[in-house]
């Protein structure tokens, strides 16, 4: 048994400690907002936060999450987190999503990035690109992702 703290709730999970967090979220707990894209930390679709830091849940074993706070897209965008709510709202306003499959991961990366900035600072275009380089969108929504992140950042100042 491993105890996981997910979105503020304790979950007792009976699984091999090497199981990636992604599959416990999706298959065991039915939290499907976090997506399976590549299984190898190459596309970012499965991005979650571990103590606020963006990590790829497809390649992070349960054993690495013990004692840490896991945050998923469901919690990050439910309005309780100021940065996540601003990012989600900007995504809606800019109509970023096409197929939408990668967007959970994009939003989680963007939220961790904006939360990491010094209060009141506005990211440059190249800082946004660098922060988001690990997240693939096959539909090619990058133009609107850039605009949404810049917009969310300005709303957080």
């Amino acid at each position: 048994m491993i105890t996981l703290n997910i979105n503020g709730n304790q979950h007792e999970v009976d699984a091999d400690p090497e199981t990636p967090i992604l599959w416990v979220l999706r298959d065991t707990l039915g939290m499907t907002g976090t997506k399976f894209g590549c299984g190898a930390a190459l596309c970012g679709a499965c991005t979650i936060h571990l103590d606020g830091e963006a990590v790829r849940s497809c390649s992070t074993p349960l054993s690495a999450a013990e004692g840490l706070n896991i945050t998923t897209i469901e919690k990050a965008t439910d309005g309780s987190d100021r940065v996540g709510a601003a990012v989600s709202a900007a995504w809606v306003k800019h109509d970023v999503a096409q197929c939408g499959y990668c967007q959970s991961g994009q939003i989680m990366s963007a939220t961790a990035f904006l939360a990491s900035l010094p209060s009141g600072s506005q990211p440059t275009a190249s800082e946004i690109d660098t922060a988001m380089e690990g997240n693939i969108c096959r539909c090619g929504t990058y133009t609107r992702i850039r605009a949404a992140i810049a917009d969310a950042a300005s709303n957080l100042v």
Binding site: R26, D27, E74, V92, Q98, G100, I128, I136, R138, G140
Partner: protein, 748 residues
């Protein structure tokens, strides 16, 4: 994907194709399937009845019947609170039809847009493409083929609501009008659609209805937020991969390393002992192959089980394609005579004052949609239910029925929102559904009475075939000093996509596949001889977003630029001269891109060059004017200005998104590493570390401009892709002085 053809034979061809597998036919599901479907949604009130006559077999009482595609009950539900649920007859996989089709219907319904919702349909005959007569999301056809259909559906429902209000108030219907979900009487009385829906559903469905004058449109043509924007910005959107039934198990499959190969030996003892593994099953796979399915509680356990399998494969009976050898073979084939699509006189070639020769090589490409392929199957003795992102629900249901020994009407395919697809969710063999059904059937035979979701890993998906085929193009062109082409001798070598598919009969003529040659020559009045060879190879190939135009646009638009450059002409002026007074949509799209980009009037930054291309595909025209440079030996795209002609843009906001996205997918094909190659029969790329797709750092600035038009709309899912790569290449050629002849670009 499917240019001008007579589609009336298509349903029969589909049936014929399925019959080749087993003797069954595709039929409409019983009408009661709608009642069941809607009954589960909590929106039962407001179901409009199918016209009784349409279901009646009693010829004596039947007036003119509406087709299933014309019957409001299959498409519209209005809840008591006024919410309007519109059912989509396509797959939504990013292109935005689950917003655009409701916009079209809501326009004629005069609905309150804030109360409009949408959902995807099934393999019911109501949801066939009204022109094709089969279930199909492809060829950028949704808006083009269903524009009038969804307008008429909305108008029919509005007429029924008006009639219900006239009954209620005992007034003449002509005195009433509608406005944003409300029926209004001259004396100021009003009734919401939700209040009228139950009475309206008891009324007959009108056959003939008047449609709005397009100048009165208030929803169509407005930049409109997608109906799924909120769900897709909060992790709430459910995709096929997210669908879960109680007790559902997950299967992953060990597939042979070479397409079509079989199992030589299997030791599954270690796999069976992996915790959570329920069964290990030998199953028939696509293309006559054999594989091993590991069925477990979840994906991770199943993949751990798969890792523990000891399988030896027998590849002795199948061809092992090798990309390098294949290119040599294609070059040899290109020297042979072959069937000709165009056959202009090549005599002027030798005497032409100027000439050029070119050879182009295009690789296999994977669709690499972000949501890996998956399919969930629930079996009972006389019924199969399937949940999958399907571009061809009827074909998938037919293939499933063949596998399962059921009648087609015993199979329901519930179309699931998909994380991309780009053509891959309509394979000619329905491989995804076929394999998932084989596994579900084998699991049931092994005593596992549970629904089974078959899930592909990224590597399974990328190595699973059905690629954009590799092509070799060769051209010899003779022209004069004014750039007039005197003779153009062209050869294409590449596998046929449509041979062996439902479209073969219409689209493969005299040995030439129209999907290979679409986009060649047109719109330019060139004296061309086009020879086409379709070698057969053991690599499954498939349509891939914009299909033939993925390579023909590149060849045509770069060669025309070469001619313009060789004769010292401006590439825009040269194209306009070629268009003459013809092709007004090409002219308008190109001129708009030129005007908005500042081409010819604005100096570029040091080291940058302009590139231009224009191409029509799937009935829409897109022109790009781009700015590019070469940074550290690598091509870099900085800015793209688009001119788009899709006639009436139903949702301009989606058109912009589709152009940006298609252009970026086109950009991906230019980047180093964006190719699928084979070595000794084995695909060499398995994941995004080996197959490049564009990332945010590759992406230019965009400015998308739409030519205003009131003509009936054409589609935009694909047409933004083809002209991007040649516009980029033309800019690079102007910088380096060397033509770009290879995809992905290689400037070495």
């Amino acid at each position: 994907m499917l240019p001008n053809m007579d589609y009336s034979e298509l349903p029969r061809a589909l049936q014929h194709m399925l019959e080749r597998g087993r003797s069954t036919s595709v039929q409409a599901l019983p009408r009661r399937s709608f009642l069941k479907l809607t009954g589960t949604l909590g929106l039962a009130v407001g179901i409009f009845p199918h016209l009784a006559a349409a279901q009646s077999t009693d010829a004596g009482e039947a007036p003119i019947a509406l087709k299933p595609t014309e019957q409001p009950s299959a498409f519209v539900q209005i809840a008591p609170n006024g919410e309007v649920m519109v059912t989509i007859n396509r797959l939504e996989f990013g292109q935005g039809v689950q917003t655009a089709l409701p916009m079209i219907l809501a326009e004629e319904l005069d609905a309150d847009w804030n109360l409009v919702r949408s959902q995807l349909g099934t393999n019911d005959m109501a949801y066939v493409d009204p022109l094709f007569g089969m279930h199909l999301t492809g060829g950028s056809n949704t808006i083009k083929n269903s524009f009038t259909q969804y307008r008429e559906l909305g108008a029919r429902v509005r007429a029924m609501l008006l009639a219900a209000a006239a009954d209620r108030w005992n007034v003449d219907v002509s005195a009433l009008r509608t406005e944003a979900g409300v029926v209004l009487a001259p004396d100021g009385r009003k009734l919401g659609y939700g209040e009228l829906s139950e009475a309206a559903m008891a009324l007959p469905v009108p056959q003939k209805i008047a449609l709005k004058d397009p100048k009165d449109f208030r929803i169509i043509g407005q930049p409109t937020q997608r109906l799924d924007a909120q769900a897709k910005s909060s992790g709430q959107q459910s995709f096929g991969i997210d669908f879960k039934l109680p007790g559902q198990l997950t299967a992953v499959v060990a597939r042979p390393p070479v397409f079509g190969a079989k199992i030589a030996s299997l030791d599954d003892s270690a796999a069976r002992s992996v915790k959570g593994v329920k069964a290990v099953l030998r199953v028939p796979l696509d293309r006559g192959a054999e594989g091993v399915a590991v069925v477990a509680d979840g994906y991770w356990q199943a993949s751990q089980g798969r890792n523990a399998l000891k399988v030896e494969w027998d590849t002795s009976a199948v061809e092992k394609v090798d990309s390098e050898k294949q290119l040599a073979q294609f070059r040899e084939i290109a020297n042979r005579p072959g069937p000709r699509q165009f056959d202009a006189d090549m005599a002027p070639l030798e005497a032409a004052p100027l000439s050029l020769e070119a050879e182009f090589v295009f690789p296999y490409l994977a669709h690499a949609a972000m949501e890996p392929l998956n399919c969930t199957v629930r079996l009972s003795d006389d019924r199969a239910e399937i949940w999958m992102g399907s571009q061809s629900a009827g074909l998938d249901a037919g293939v499933a029925a063949n596998v399962l020994g059921l009648k087609p009407e015993q199979v329901v395919v519930n179309v699931q929102t998909s994380g991309g697809g780009f053509g891959r969710r309509f394979s000619s063999s329905s491989d995804t559904a076929m394999e998932a059904c084989q596994i579900a059937k084998a699991a049931r035979a092994a005593g596992l009475n549970a629904p089974v979701r078959t899930l592909w890993s990224r590597e399974d998906d990328m190595r699973g075939g059905y690629y954009r085929p590799t092509h070799l193009h060769r051209a010899r062109i003779g022209f004069d000093k004014e750039g007039n082409v005197l003779a153009w001798d062209h050869t294409i070598v590449g596998q046929s996509i449509l041979t062996g598919t439902v479209f073969e009969k219409f689209q493969v003529k005299d040995g030439i596949d129209a999907a290979t040659t679409e986009g060649m020559r047109s719109p330019y009045p060139l004296p061309m001889r086009l020879t086409v060879h379709h070698p057969v190879a053991n690599v499954p190939v498939l349509w891939w977003r914009s299909v033939g135009s993925t390579h023909t646009a590149f060849v045509m638009e770069t060669l025309l630029d070469d001619i313009a450059r060789a004769t010292d002409q401006d590439p825009v002026a040269y194209r306009m001269k070629m268009f003459g007074n013809e092709h007004p949509r090409h002219r308008d799209a190109l001129q708009l891109a030129v005007d908005k980009s500042g081409y010819g009037s604005r100096a570029l930054a040091e080291g940058r060059a302009w590139g231009v291309a224009v191409h029509e595909s799937f009935s829409s025209v897109v022109a790009y004017v781009v700015e590019a440079s070469v940074v550290d030996g690598q091509p870099k795209l900085h800015r793209v200005t688009a001119g788009v002609h899709c006639n009436l843009a139903v949702n301009p906001r989606t058109v912009e998104a589709q152009v940006q996205g298609a252009a970026i997918m086109g950009l991906s094909t230019c980047l180093a590493g964006s190719e699928i190659t084979l070595k000794d029969g084995v695909v060499e790329q398995g994941n995004f570390s080996e197959f490049t797709v564009a990332r945010i750092t590759d992406v230019p600035e965009f400015d998308v401009n739409i030519v205003p038009s009131a003509d009936a709309p054409t589609g935009m899912g694909e047409p933004g892709l083809p002209p991007l790569a040649p516009a980029f290449a033309n800019a690079i050629s102007r910088l380096t002085g060397k033509p770009v002849r290879q995809m992905p670009f290689n400037l070495a």
